[in-house]
Symmetry: C2
Subunit: 225 residues, 2 copies
């Protein structure tokens, strides 16, 4: 697989392509051109062809792309052929929701254990995932090749738990806490899901809209006079 200086923007678009291709597949559409795909995703055909060309040649002149083939290629680029081992730290509300509902196996992840400090959840099993004591975490990590840790602990525990994870060889953290984890010295991959950042952006856009509306209203009021 060709892999050269692929920009972050490109990588963030790949899952969207995947999603759209799955949708086309489900609709029984087996052929798509970069223009059609662009139209449906709000991107230019050029951009789509450029994005794909980072990884190889997946289309055919005069025809376009074969949907199932392209789907497989992108899946493979995203590492969906591989199998990763995951653990989850912090069986609170969001952690519990992820264990019960998020289909880790759809994306090549095996969630093998969860960890918490609360005695009332330790020892129980949710959706076949056993909840172990936080005290067992270091040993577990030493004995099992865990690729990724899903971090769903309370704010204050985020940094100390991260230290344990990186010290015991976890490669990547899927961070659901509202804490900036990126430590300058660490080589651990961090992917953030910051609910509140997302909501604040939304708040900005609504706020902008409201400002525009009242500006327009003010202009019209002046014109009336």
């Amino acid at each position: 697989m060709k892999r050269l200086k692929v920009s972050n923007n490109v990588i963030r678009r790949l899952p969207r392509y995947l999603r759209k291709l799955d949708e086309l597949n489900a609709q029984g559409i087996s052929r798509v051109s970069s223009s059609e795909l662009g139209q449906q995703l709000g991107l230019t055909p050029s951009q789509i062809r450029q994005d794909f060309s980072c990884f190889g040649e997946f289309g055919q002149q005069g025809y376009g792309y074969h949907v199932p083939t392209l789907r497989e290629q992108i899946g493979s680029i995203l590492g969906m052929d591989r199998s990763y081992q995951a653990v989850l730290i912090g069986v609170g509300n969001i952690g519990h929701a992820l264990i019960d509902n998020f289909c880790f196996s759809d994306w090549g992840f095996r969630l093998t254990a969860a960890f918490d400090v609360k005695p009332e959840v330790i020892g129980s099993t949710f959706n076949k995932v056993p909840v172990l004591s936080m005290e067992e975490l270091p040993r577990y990590l030493d004995e099992n090749p865990v690729n990724i840790a899903v971090l769903t602990v309370p704010k204050d525990a985020a940094i100390p738990v991260t230290r344990i994870l990186t010290a015991h060889g976890v490669e990547a953290i899927w961070n659901f806490t509202n804490v900036e984890l990126t430590e300058p010295n660490s080589s651990t991959i961090v992917e953030n899901v910051h609910f509140s950042d997302s909501l604040l952006s939304l708040s900005y856009y609504i706020s902008e809209r409201i400002d525009e509306r009242s500006a327009r209203a003010a202009r019209e009021a002046r014109r009336e006079k």
Copy 2:
């Protein structure tokens, strides 16, 4: 408030600034320069000053920025002074977790009602939020000025529910479903929280790492020979 063609990238950085400033505030640090801030967030001082300059002048030559003041300014840019009314659609696992745990009021949002189709949850109340029947949704939206809908319904319900929301004047959707909502004709603001997109990017980065490692190992093995 100065508001001219602010790029999306800038807006996505604002919540991070806010978070860091809150952190500094909590540490009792009341003064910060663009270099210090840049160091802590992994950004250049230039970029930070450029970002702020989109909205006005918040600093002082030779001194830097006054943390509490800057915090307030950015909060206000993000629309945190305003109060928005929100409803939540789909009281499944993730919806329930958000109602119980996500502090909407911290960000200026009032969650006034939730909606679901399941008879067993309709009529109940979680964290003071009443769960109403989906059938009541259109009337509720007509009678209340709802700014944003939190969409936590199953995949298949995403599009039909979105139609109802936009038809009844909801301005923005905070989309937790794994479905592309952006319809070309609609003017509704959509903010996506795509867990699986996030996990797939992470998968890409891990996969890249693994490839690099095995490439290096192969090179070394050749050298040994």
